[in-house]
């Protein structure tokens, strides 16, 4: 637990703060989100097209933010942060993707809303 005796402000993770990068990140992500909102509200393309476009915009925004404000790069100070994130990324995809795949099939195979159900709801009990 020996500490660096030097000034903590000289630490590379303090020094990487960058006002211009933060501003750029703010402007670009605001822009992307605004476009996304506009797409969603105006219904300018098909629902699927809009969903894909919004996903794309979100992806770009996240990459921009990851680079500019989370400082994900391979500099000496940040490389392990980046490695950790890269290790996690496929797991996010696996968790969401495989789950979606499994349940898409499961809904088709098991979640049949019986057509008769609603009409039977007020059926009188059978007499015998």
């Amino acid at each position: 637990m020996t500490e660096h005796m030097q000034d903590p402000l000289n630490h590379p993770e303090v020094q990487l703060a960058n006002g211009r990068a933060y501003l750029a990140s703010f402007i670009i992500s605001m822009l992307l989100m605004t476009v996304g909102l506009w797409l969603a509200v105006t219904h300018i393309t098909t629902p699927l097209g809009t969903v894909l476009m919004i996903s794309f915009l979100a992806g770009v925004a996240v990459i921009i933010q990851g680079y500019f404000i989370l400082h994900m790069d391979i500099s000496h100070a940040q490389v392990w942060h980046t490695v950790a994130m890269v290790l996690f990324l496929p797991l996010f995809v696996v968790t969401i993707g495989l789950t979606a795949w499994m349940f898409h099939g499961l809904y088709q195979r098991t979640m049949i809303m019986p057509p008769a159900a609603s009409s039977m709801a007020h059926m009188s009990p059978m007499s015998h």
């Binding site: 637990m1 392990w80 968790t95 789950t99 499994m102 349940f103 099939g105 499961l106 195979r109």
Partner: protein, 715 residues
């Protein structure tokens, strides 16, 4: 109240009433009396010998990774015994309750346990063995060994380390509390929905289960962050990735699994909690919930968790087998790759825990194939261990015996695992005893490795070896018990018998159940031998004193420092030149541990905050289980306040002065005798090997209230 509760509720005590204390269950009353007597004896002894101060200073407030590890292992052993007692009850109940004519005792319909009571027992057995026995045992071992193996003086976050321990302990304490206040969940350790929803499990049992699970999950996640950061950031100079010992590699991959998977468990449990407390519809059958979602989320964690447990076991085997083969591990690079391959594949196999869910055949095929892929790196590991023994000089001491037992059990477990991965087989015996027998083979791999690791590293931590005679009796009875219990269980699997029955309708199955009882008797005797083993070892501890390199053929860095390890681990941080640094130094006669003047060592100071936080979390859990809202709010407020107050504390570190280090080191060196082991080390001798002349320690640090004594463990 947000949801409809059966039974009374008052603002002051929530659902807690006097009826929740099970006076009417004789088994629990007897258990309570025994536990109370034992607890009173321990408390009285501590008071009588005046050890409260010592306990507080040296253990309860410690942030030393070795002591925390020892406490983890103690917790694990205690819970292992509890889990074993549960297993005994399950086996006896099933053997008694065969056929419609089997009589019922003590208010049970068949056998001597009611279905509700047996349900609690098998739930507790599973949960305890997985998260409160195996996990603490392995986490404890990693805690002790990993910093030593990478040449670090401590973990990255000593305070967090203590917090992880006390959160896990809080969870374990709640499980034990459920014995005497209220009841535990009664549907299986991994929980079923919608069975665990309020309409079908109206009592507090599921809440106990949920919060204990959650606490241990938080504790383990914190631990995994700590171990990963320690390995990534705190390796000694020269300890490059490819010079790390296998156990450290295994710890890294296993903690990566924990780090990534435990959050999903927390979500799975939290959503169930929302259903039970707030009345949402995540897992309900109706109202737009999806009950299979729980299984999905749970096993997204649950399967990686299996490898979280097995990988450290593999790491232990990879340390023990080379040491007792007096030879380098075969295929080091391959072993590293295999560890990470297992960790990686573990993330894509979880559906095999619910193959019978009616997923599309393409989905089941995918998961069947990915599951089988695990067999490849596992097979490689087995072969590599065998080739480590090849051209070696294998010594059959206790740690090696355990490691080899683990190897053979792995062959059985691996084979049956491949049979389970074959989905058409699984359709037939899913939820059946074949699966149960299979995973008990695997957890016995873990158990055997843990016993091996305890034998192997015990002298490193305490400075003396465990004796061998009683240990061998323990070993052989464990083997016989295992064969006698689990071979019939495989047969019952072929009989189609399913899990968690408290009454066995088919009398054809009874011979197998009765044979298993014999196995349980062997296990009981084995436990007695284990106790004798510990007792005799403690009694003869002076005789069994060892020096740094306890087995004479240690290879990795931890064998380079004194046994027992001083608080600061290494007086001088070693510079690592090769893989198996210590073996290399011994070969080249570089075993002198005193290269120059001692320096002051900066260490973290002990603190009681983690212990208090653990207690508060236990209070929070208790309050939430019984829905005592005021207490829950109070605990949350205190937890937040305590964390903030602690963050203002500037006095968290201390420096061990150079002269104290010198005193400790020369004390350890004085004990070194000239006796040289010839134990198979090529060239050179082992200077650090020592035999203690007397029982009294040469090491005694100051024991003021703020700084811990530097003697690593009490002798």
């Amino acid at each position: 109240m947000l949801v409809h509760l059966q039974g009374p509720w008052t603002p002051l005590l929530g659902r807690l009433t006097l009826q929740q204390i099970p006076f009417h269950v004789p088994i629990l009353v007897v258990t309570f009396i025994v536990v109370a007597i034992l607890a009173a004896m321990v408390l009285a002894a501590t008071t009588y010998f005046g050890k409260w101060g010592y306990l507080w200073r040296e253990w309860l407030t410690t942030v030393d990774h070795k002591k925390i590890g020892v406490m983890y292992i103690l917790l694990g052993l205690v819970m292992l015994l509890r889990g074993f007692a549960d297993a005994l009850m399950i086996r006896t109940q099933q053997a008694m309750a065969v056929g419609p004519g089997s009589p019922g005792e003590m208010g049970a319909v068949h056998g001597y346990l009611t279905p509700f009571h047996l349900g609690q027992i098998f739930t507790a057995h599973g949960l305890i063995m997985v998260v409160f026995a195996a996990t603490p045992l392995l986490v404890g071992l990693m805690n002790i060994i990993v910093p030593l193996q990478i040449g670090a003086r401590d973990m990255a976050y000593p305070y967090l380390n203590a917090l992880g321990l006390w959160l896990t302990t809080a969870g374990a304490a709640l499980v034990m509390m459920s014995l005497f206040v209220g009841n535990f969940a009664h549907g299986g350790w991994y929980g079923f929905v919608p069975y665990f929803e309020l309409p079908y499990s109206p009592g507090v049992g599921v809440d106990y289960w949920m919060w204990t699970f959650q606490l241990s999950a938080i504790g383990t996640s914190l631990g995994s962050i700590n171990l990963i950061a320690t390995i990534v950031k705190m390796r000694a100079p020269g300890m490059t990735w490819m010079r790390m010992p296998m156990f450290t590699w295994a710890s890294l991959s296993t903690n990566l699994i924990a780090l990534t998977s435990f959050p999903v468990l927390m979500v799975a449990l939290a959503l169930l909690g929302l259903d039970r407390y707030v009345g949402t519809h995540f897992y309900t059958a109706g109202m737009g919930g999806n009950l299979m979602l729980y299984n999905d989320l749970f096993w997204v964690w649950g399967h990686p968790e299996v490898y979280f447990l097995i990988l450290p076991a593999f790491g232990i085997m990879s340390e023990i087998i080379p040491t007792f083969s007096e030879k380098t591990l075969f295929g080091y690079v391959t072993m590293v790759i295999a560890s990470f391959a297992i960790g990686g594949v573990s993330w894509g196999v979880w559906l095999h825990h619910f193959f019978t869910m009616a997923a599309a055949p393409s989905v089941n095929s995918f998961y069947s194939v990915t599951t089988m892929l695990v067999g490849i790196p596992t097979g490689v590991k087995v072969f590599n261990w065998v080739f480590t023994m090849y051209r070696g000089r294998v010594r059959y001491e206790l740690p090696m015996l355990w490691a080899l037992l683990a190897l053979f059990l792995l062959l059985v477990g691996g084979m049956t695992g491949m049979m389970n991965a074959f989905a058409s087989n699984d359709y037939m015996w899913h939820n059946g005893l074949f699966v149960v027998a299979h995973f008990h083979m695997m957890v016995l791999v873990i158990a055997a490795s843990i016993f091996g690791a305890v034998e192997y590293w015990f002298p490193k931590v305490f400075g003396f070896k465990l004796e061998q005679k009683w240990g061998k009796w323990f070993f052989w009875f464990m083997i016989i018990g295992t064969g006698w219990t689990f071979v019939p269980m495989f047969f019952l699997g072929f009989a189609g018998m399913t899990r968690r029955l408290d009454y066995i309708p088919y009398t054809q199955w009874s011979p197998y159940l009765h044979i298993m009882l014999v196995g349980m008797v062997f296990y009981v005797v084995a436990v007695l031998f284990f106790v004798a083993h510990l007792y005799v070892s403690l009694r003869d501890r002076v005789k069994n004193r060892v020096g740094a390199d306890a087995w004479g053929t240690g290879r990795s860095l931890e064998w380079m420092t004194h046994s027992p390890v001083p608080a600061y681990n290494y007086a001088f941080i070693p510079h690592v030149n090769v893989l198996d640094e210590w073996a290399w130094r011994k070969e080249n006669g570089l075993t002198e541990l005193h290269p120059g003047d001692y320096e002051g060592i900066h260490m973290p100071k002990n603190t009681g905050v983690p212990l208090f936080l653990g207690m508060l979390f236990m209070g929070l859990g208790f309050a939430l289980i019984w829905r005592i809202w005021w207490l829950a709010l109070l605990c949350v407020a205190l937890i937040v306040a305590l964390i903030i107050i602690r963050s203002f504390d500037r006095d968290t570190d201390m420096t061990i002065p150079a002269h104290t280090v010198e005193q400790v080191e020369s004390g350890a060196r004085d004990e070194t005798s000239v006796a040289m082991p010839t134990a198979g080390v090529r060239g050179g001798t082992v200077i650090a090997h020592s035999i203690l002349q007397s029982g009294t320690s040469g090491i005694s640090g100051s024991t003021t209230s703020t700084s811990p004594s530097l003697a690593p463990m009490d002798r």
